[in-house]
Symmetry: C2
DNA sequence: ACTTTTGTTAACCATTTGGTTAAATCGTAT
DNA sequence: ATACGATTTAACCAAATGGTTAACAAAAGT
């Protein structure tokens, strides 16, 4: 009765395949048959490991969400000074997403599809981002006169937008600017330092 | 034989319904029946006006793309000085998108689904964005020493990201920051001026 | 050895879904 | 009126799709 010691290879093959298909086609566009084919197994075996499409999707989605959101928290909640925090965020977040460039669009998409489900499932526990501390920190720096007067909300939006959007619009940027895969990587690598520099230049007195 | 003078109300009702359903569910998630219901008509009538789902989708998608891309061009191609151009872009683009907040995600999504189709269908003619002029303008300002040394590509990405991303991640921002619909509108209204200010502060010497 | 549990498959089923057909209705020109 | 094209509908159809079943193979436990 080796219930726990599930066959690592088959289950993992399914998860890999499911991730690939779900992330590229979305929940609605993904076909169970495609996932089965991609995993090199029978369709019935899919339902043996994961009862139905919804359940399988949930696993993949949660995995993606858990990879994206807790990172934000840890950095935003840390005790670094503001400028360092901004640098950490860009550095670490771009690094994470560069390994899964399509995750942000996938997650954003499914959040749009059903914000309530998302709120309940993903943010019910530990991984709910809490930007309050970061926002207060900005406010404090403004009050102390260390940086220019700025609405913290806008600064937060600017930071997140500049960091994440290029991944969301990756194909658009690539097609429009004639950018190859490797060129895109180079640019994003640069942005780890360019974005903080840009922001700090914008707000320092 | 009033072939041209098609019944304005029915066709328009279909287009409105199709836009609503396609934009919220995407091509894959949209159901012809839903569109018919939303338009208050029979499903067969849908196929009478638009031969099939693909054709109907194409109309909606093109309409969306035409609303989003040519605007960018006109501004980027204009002869305004750099700072004014940045101001115009934020002002006009946010105004346009505020009336259709879900268009950017819709378009980005379908581009991701099939970048080649997009390239052919949408950018084959007039509406292909040509950022070259804008990029050169930035380069010139840098060379003239009017602004700080910056890779024009990053500046372009920053501008577009800060402008568009909040709409793409709208539900996320709203849920996470406890923002109401009207609050979101206020913030975006502010960003028309906050983004240019932010950018100019970042690059002016 | 043999029994039980776990993994895997082919065939099947029910529902959904895009699309068609043929008939009915409406508007308008003759 | 009536003939005729444009519009609209109910009923249908075939393919796709999520999911199930029953049988079979492979381990694991006894």
């Amino acid at each position: 009765m080796v219930k726990n010691k599930k066959d690592q290879t088959t289950e993992q093959a399914i998860l890999d395949a499911a991730k690939k298909v779900f992330v590229s086609k979305g929940m609605a566009g993904a076909r169970m048959q495609d996932i089965a084919d991609e995993a090199g197994i029978n369709k019935a075996l899919l339902h043996y490991y994961f009862r139905n499409k919804e359940k399988l999707f949930e696993v993949i989605f949660m995995e993606a969400a858990e990879k994206l959101f807790p990172r934000i928290n840890k950095i935003f909640d840390s005790d670094q000074p503001l400028f360092e925090k901004i640098e950490s965020f860009c550095e670490e977040y771009i690094a994470v997403v560069m390994e899964n460039p399509y995750l942000p669009l996938f997650v954003i998409n499914e959040i749009n599809q059903d914000p309530e489900y998302f709120l309940k499932k993903v943010w019910s526990g530990r991984s709910k981002p809490n930007p309050a501390k970061f926002l207060e920190q900005i406010e404090r720096e403004v009050k102390k006169g260390n940086i220019k007067r700025i609405n913290p909300l806008h600064l937060l939006m600017n930071l997140i937008s500049m960091t994440i959007f290029p991944f969301v619009a990756k194909p658009m940027f690539q097609k429009n600017l004639g950018m190859s895969e490797s060129q895109f990587r180079v640019i994003m690598e640069q942005r780890k330092r360019e974005i903080p520099k840009f922001i700090i230049d914008a707000i320092k007195k």
